[in-house]
């Protein structure tokens, strides 16, 4: 979508030159993060846990596979924290 169209384009045209375009980026970013968290935590992790519990894997394999939901959680957390670190 062209950012020059619609209310977002008009809003950005009012923002000083060095900050033009960043408003749309921020809004897109926060929406993207929210969607990623909702899909990741609400869908991916429960399905992963369900499959892992149904598979009934034990021992070293079970221990390693058991970290998959943890890694998914870390991935989502890092995806949320990353933009903060890059913008401050």
């Amino acid at each position: 979508m062209d950012n020059n169209d619609g209310w977002m384009g008009r809003l950005e045209s009012m923002v000083p030159g060095d900050q033009r375009g960043q408003t749309g980026n921020l809004v897109s970013l926060v929406i993207g993060i929210a969607v990623a968290v909702i899909v990741g935590v609400g869908v991916a992790i429960p399905i992963t846990n369900q499959v892992l519990n149904s598979a009934n894997v034990t021992g070293l394999t079970g221990t390693i596979i058991g970290f998959i939901p943890v890694m998914l959680g870390v991935l989502i957390f890092v995806a949320t924290v990353g933009p903060i670190m890059s913008r401050t």
Binding site: V15, Q19, P69, V70, I84, R87
Partner: protein, 148 residues
């Protein structure tokens, strides 16, 4: 045309509004899918031949209560533990064909607690709404600092 400062404030206000509006669903999803979750009166069709899948998995011990329909009293009442058995890991329930309360094909109601995520996952994911709030705060603070 609005002044530069007013335009920046307006843009940040829109960003903040959208961010805070999305914070609610994010927090809700995190709370509903991490740690110990309670399921109350999940409708389960009793089948004597095969185990029936429950919505939850990794079910907590001693938290399962099954309610069967009593045809005499016309209401649901708690079934004795001998009428069913629960496979806690995958979250399945098997009904006993010797039950005097539960009939084959009858709709039962099952209440239980289950561990949606482990302790470490819950800890990490639990910080996600905080991180999102921090992102909104940091973005605003960054612009405010740039204006000073």
């Amino acid at each position: 045309m609005a002044s530069k400062t007013a335009a920046v404030v307006l843009a940040l206000a829109v960003f903040t509004a959208i961010g805070v509006i999305l914070l609610g669903p994010v927090s809700g999803v995190v709370n509903a899918n991490t740690g110990t979750q309670t399921v109350t009166n999940e409708s389960v069709s009793a089948t004597f031949s095969d185990p029936v899948d429950l919505t939850g998995y990794d079910i907590s011990s001693d938290s399962v209560t099954v309610y069967g329909y009593n045809d005499s009293s016309g209401s649901y009442e708690a079934a004795p533990a001998s009428d069913y058995s629960v496979n806690k890991g995958p979250g399945t329930i098997s009904f006993s064909n010797s039950s005097s309360l539960i009939d084959d094909g009858e709709t039962t109601k099952v209440s239980y607690d289950y561990q949606a995520t482990g302790a470490i996952s819950s800890l990490v994911i639990g910080f996600t709404p905080l991180a999102l709030g921090l992102f909104i705060f940091a973005a605003i603070a960054n612009r405010v600092q740039g204006m000073m």
